[in-house]
Point group: C2
Chain length 569, copies 2
C-alpha cells in the first residue's frame, strides 16, 4: 500500500507510513562490511555527523544504446524510510568487526536511522542518461555511507532490466503483447520477481509467473491489477494422456443454457470436417491422437481459456488441425479459444502458415474472427530475433520472452556508482586518470530542456544556487569535460529533474511515491517523447548531457587544484 500522506510536515511521520522493502532480505546489513568499518572510523574520529552529499549515477548506457530507464527508486525510499538496526543485527556487526571497537559505536548504531537524511531523485520510470544524478542523498556521512551498497544493488538491476524490457518493446512494436517468461532461468528467486516487476515498468504486459502470485502477496495486492492478464499456457500434456482416457466428457455451454454430453465426439466431428477440406495439410494423414486428447482434456478443464502449445509433434500437420478441432467445438458451445503457442522452429513461417489456416477455417466454416486467433511465439527470443522476425514478416500477436530478458544476457550488469560531491558544504571531486571516471563535483540541480518540436534536447546540471533555466531564455550548455563542445539552447520547456522523496526531518515537502502503473505510464510516455534517432537500435545518436558555464568553470578549477602535476622520468 502506498503512503497517502503527501507533503508530510516532518520525516518521522513519513517514516511511519512507508512499507518496508518488498524483499525481506533488504536490511541495513545488505551492504559491504567495509561500510561498517568506515562508519566506525568516522565515528571514532568524531566525523560521523559531517554533512555529506552523494550522487548516484551511471557512466554508460547499457546494451549499446543511448538511453536507460531509471527503476528501483521505490524500494530505495522504502529502505531509507525503514533503515533501523535491531539488536540481532547490531550484535552481528559487533561480532564481525574487530574486537577493539568501542561500545559507544554500537550505542550509536542502535539509535541510527535516516531522519537526518534527505533523498532526492528523478522519478522512477524516467528515461535517464549517463552522469546525471539519478539520486542525490544528503545526510550525516556515516549513515549515507551505509546506504551506498544497498541503493546501488536496488537500482542497478532494476534499471538494467527495465531498460532491457523497453528495448524489447521498441523492437516488438506497440501492438504486440509482451509476456515475461523468465522465472526458471532468472538469477535466483528474487532475480525473477525483480525482473517481473521492472519488465512491467519497462513496457511488458504480463508475466507467466504464478508467483507474481508470490510478488502479489508480498506486495500486498500491488501487482494484482497490472498482472491480471496472466496467460496460462498448455504444457504438452500428451506426455501422460493416452486416447480414450477422458472420463468426464460433458461440457456446459458458455451461457449455461445447454450441456454437450460428449465433447470428445464433437471435437472428433470437427477434426473430420477439417481433414475433409482440400486445403488442410492434415488431410494427408492423421493428426497425433494423444495430442488431441491432451488438448480436449485441457479444454474441458478451461473451456474459457483454451491455449495450446502446438509444436509437440508437427505444427501444421498435427498441432494446428487438432487445436482448430477443439477450438471449433468450443465455439459451438459459445466459448472463444485463447490461441496457440509456438515454441520452436521457424516462427516467421509457422506463424504465417497458422494464420492462413485460421483464416481458411473462418471462411470455410463461417466463424467470424477465427482468422484472428491469437498466436504467441516463444523460444529464446531477444532483440535480435524479434528484429529478424520483423524483417521476414510474421503473424505473431504475442511474444513470450525469458532468459535474454530477465538475465539481461547481452549485458548482465549496469555500473551505477555512488560518489561524494560535497562534504560540510565543500565541493569534492573524485579524480581518475580515466576522464570518464572523474566525478562532477558540487551539490547540483539538474534540468531537462525541451526544444521546439517537443523533444528533450539536453540535460543540464547546475550548481545548487544558480537560477533555474527559463523557458525562452538562452542558456549555454557545456560538455563537462570537453571544452570545445558547447551549445546555446533556448528551452521551450524545462523539467526540474530531482524531486524530494525523503525529506527526513528537514520539513521539506515530500513527493509521494507513484503507483506501479503510474510509473509504467511515465516510462512509456517518456520513451515516446524521445527523438527517434536516440532510440534506434543501430548507431543511435547520443543524447546530450551538459553542465552550466558556472559549473564547468568550477569543475576545472577544482580539477587543476587537486590533480598532481606529473613528473616524466
Amino acid at each position: 500500500m502506498e503512503a497517502n500522506a503527501n507533503h508530510l510536515p516532518n520525516g518521522e511521520a513519513a517514516a511511519a507510513v512507508l512499507d518496508s522493502p518488498t524483499n525481506p532480505m533488504v536490511t541495513p546489513l545488505l551492504t559491504d562490511l567495509y561500510q561498517y568499518t568506515m562508519a566506525y572510523a568516522y565515528w571514532k574520529g568524531g566525523k560521523h555527523n559531517d554533512r555529506a552529499v552523494f550522487d548516484l549515477y551511471f557512466r554508460r548506457n547499457p546494451f549499446g544504446g543511448e538511453y536507460t530507464i531509471f527503476a528501483g527508486l521505490e524500494e530505495c525510499i522504502k529502505f531509507i524510510a525503514n533503515f533501523k538496526m535491531n539488536e540481532g543485527e547490531i550484535s552481528f556487526i559487533r561480532q564481525s568487526l574487530s574486537g577493539s571497537c568501542e561500545d559507544g559505536f554500537f550505542d550509536y548504531l542502535r539509535e541510527l536511522d535516516c531522519s537526518e537524511v534527505e533523498a532526492y531523485a528523478i522519478p522512477e520510470g524516467s528515461v535517464v542518461f549517463p552522469k546525471v544524478p539519478l539520486m542525490r542523498i544528503e545526510g550525516p556521512v556515516a549513515v549515507v555511507q551505509l546506504l551506498e551498497t544497498p541503493l546501488l544493488n536496488l537500482v542497478n538491476f532494476a534499471s538494467l532490466v527495465a531498460t532491457n524490457a523497453a528495448r524489447h518493446r521498441f523492437v516488438a512494436g506497440k501492438s504486440k503483447m509482451l509476456l515475461e517468461f523468465g522465472l526458471r532461468r532468472a538469477q535466483g528467486p528474487d532475480g525473477a520477481i525483480t525482473a517481473s516487476k521492472y519488465c512491467y515498468i519497462g513496457g511488458f504486459d504480463a508475466t507467466r509467473m504464478a508467483s507474481c502470485l508470490t510478488a502479489m502477496l508480498l506486495l500486498d495486492g500491488y501487482l494484482v491489477s497490472p498482472f491480471a492478464e496472466h496467460i496460462p499456457m498448455l504444457l504438452s500434456a500428451h506426455l501422460w494422456l493416452s486416447p480414450d482416457e477422458i472420463i468426464e466428457k460433458s461440457l456446459k455451454s458458455a451461457d449455461g443454457s445447454t450441456i454437450c454430453e460428449d465433447f470428445v465426439s464433437l471435437v472428433q466431428t470437427w477434426l473430420n470436417k477439417i481433414k475433409a477440406v482440400q486445403w488442410s495439410k492434415s488431410s494427408n494423414g492423421d493428426t497425433n491422437h494423444s495430442e488431441l486428447t491432451a488438448f480436449t482434456s485441457y479444454a474441458l478443464a478451461f473451456p474459457d481459456n483454451f491455449l495450446a502449445l502446438v509444436d509437440t509433434y508437427d505444427v501444421m500437420r498435427s498441432g494446428i488441425p487438432n487445436f482448430c478441432a477443439v477450438a471449433l467445438a468450443l465455439n459451438d458451445l459459445g466459448y472463444k479459444a485463447g490461441g496457440i503457442r509456438l515454441d520452436s522452429g521457424d516462427l516467421a513461417y509457422l506463424s504465417s502458415e497458422a494464420r492462413k489456416f485460421f483464416q481458411s477455417i473462418e471462411k470455410e466454416f463461417c466463424i467470424p474472427g477465427f482468422g484472428k486467433t491469437n498466436i504467441t511465439a516463444s523460444n529464446d527470443l531477444n532483440e535480435e530475433t524479434l528484429d529478424a522476425l520483423n524483417k521476414q514478416g510474421h503473424e505473431v500477436d504475442s511474444y513470450g520472452i525469458g532468459t535474454y530478458l530477465v538475465t539481461c544476457y547481452s549485458q548482465a550488469a549496469l555500473g551505477c556508482v555512488f560518489k561524494l560531491v560535497e562534504i560540510n558544504g565543500e565541493p569534492r571531486i573524485k579524480l581518475s586518470e580515466d576522464v570518464s571516471k572523474v566525478s562532477i563535483p558540487c551539490k547540483k540541480r539538474s534540468y531537462r530542456l525541451y526544444g521546439k518540436e517537443g523533444y528533450p534536447l539536453v540535460d543540464i546540471m547546475t550548481r545548487e544556487n544558480e537560477p533555474i533555466p527559463k523557458v525562452g531564455e538562452r542558456i549555454l550548455c557545456r560538455h563537462p569535460f570537453n571544452e570545445s563542445k558547447r551549445a546555446f539552447v533556448v528551452p521551450q520547456k524545462v523539467d526540474d529533474l530531482l524531486k524530494c522523496y525523503w525529506p527526513g526531518t528537514s520539513g521539506k515537502p515530500r513527493v509521494e511515491l507513484p503507483s506501479l502503473n503510474e510509473t509504467r505510464e511515465r516510462c512509456i510516455n517518456q520513451l515516446e517523447q524521445m527523438r527517434p534517432d536516440h532510440m534506434r537500435r543501430l548507431n543511435p545518436t547520443p543524447y546530450k548531457v551538459s553542465v552550466s558555464a558556472k559549473l564547468y568553470d568550477f569543475i576545472h578549477f577544482l580539477w587543476l587544484n587537486e590533480a598532481p602535476v606529473g613528473e616524466l622520468q
Copy 2:
C-alpha cells in the same frame, strides 16, 4: 541448522526436521501459473496421482567449458520438504485461475505436500556433465509438475555461479585468496546473497558483503565460519578528512603494555625516514597529505586490521609510501598491517613495484616479513584479466572479483530443463527436430566410471533394473545418439551418482544434507580429480557421457516408434 536424523524411517518425520528455504520468497507460488492450470487439468481428468518420473538436467556446459558444478540442491530439498500451501496462497491461486475451477481442486491443494514424492540427486558441489540427471523427481504428476519451475530456478543460477567461481579459481591458482565483491552489481539482493554462497562452494574464500551478515542471520549462523575472513577495505577516506583534524592521537600497543601518545607524529617520522632513502620514489616530492591523514585515522580505529586503498592519488608516489609510514608506525607498536588494495591502473606493474617497495622497506629497516605484505587487486577482474596477469607476471596475493563473477557476465544463464521420462511405469521420450533436445527416456541410474590413473573416464546412464557396473568388469559405453561412438571401459572405481535426499513416506533411507563446508570440499576435491585436459580454458576435451547398450537400444526403439514419418512435397 541441518537435520541430524540420518536415514529416517519415514518421510513425514523427515519433513519436520528440515528448515524452510533460505529465501522466504521461495514458496509453492514461486512457479509459472500454467503449472497450476496443468495441475487443475490433471485433477479434473482424474490423473493427478499418476506416478511420474522427471529428470532435471542441462544440455551444454556454460562459459565455453567442459564441466559444471551442481549447486542449489540443499535449497531444493528444503523446498520439497516444506512444500505446503497456506490459505492465503490457495485463495490467491483461486483468484488467478479461471472462475470455472471446481472447489474440490482447492481442497486437493490444501492437502497437498511432498510426502508421496521421492527426490534423488547427485551430491551438491559435484562436477557434472550435460544430459546426466542432476536430480530425479518421482511422485504424483500434479505435484511434481508444480515443483518444476522452482527447482529450475534454484538450480540454474546456483550451478552457474558456482561454476563461474570454480573457473576463476582455476585461473587464479590455488595459492591466491579470492574475495567476492559483487553485491552492488548483482541481479538484486537475492542474486547477491545467492552468488556469495555459491561462489564459496565453487572455491572462493570470502565475501566482502557485510550482509553475508544478512545471509548469516538468515542461515542461522550457517555462514559464520566460512565467511569469517571478511576483509574490511578502506574507502578512500581522503574525501572528507583534512590534515590536522585527528583529535585523538594516542594508540595503545598491541600487547597493551605501552601507549604511544602521538601516533600521528610517529607516522610522520616514518614517512620522513622513507622519503630520506634513495630508492623511494616519493623522495622527489610530497605524498598526498589528506591521504596520509585518512590512513592514519583508519589505523587508529583498526590498528589490528589496517588495509589501505592506495590508488586514490598516485600509487607509487603517494599511496605506497603513505601506507608504509602508517604500517611501520603500527609495527613499532606490535601491530601487523593488513595490506593494500589496488583498484585501478596496470595491476601487474603496480603490484610488482609495490612488492619491490615492501621488500626494500624490509631490508632497509630490518622489518622481517614486511616484504610479504598482502596485495589485493580488484577492478573489473574476470577469467581473461586473471589469465593476462598471470602471463605478464604480478605480485598480487588476493583478488576481489565482482560484476563478472556474480552476474556471470560472460553467460548469464544456465539452461537446465525438467523432463518427464516415465509415467505409470511407462518410459517417455521428448522428441525434437534438434537431436540435442531429445530427452533420454526411462527411470535411470547413473554411474561415474574411473580409469587406472584415478581420473573419471565416463558417466554412464542405465535403465533402473540393470546390474550396477562392477570394478574390473568390461562394460560397453555408448553415445546416446551417435551409433558410431562407443567404447569399452573397465572401471577401476564406480560411483553411483544419484542419492536419495528426500524419500517422502517411501521408507527408503535418506542421505543427510552435508554442511556448506563439506559441499565446498567436495567441489574442490572433485575439481582436482578431473583430468587436466577437461579443465583447461582453451579447447578443453569434452568429458564423455554415455548410456548402456540396453538403454541405447531402448531409446532408439522408442524414438522410431514415436517420431512421425515425414512426407516431402
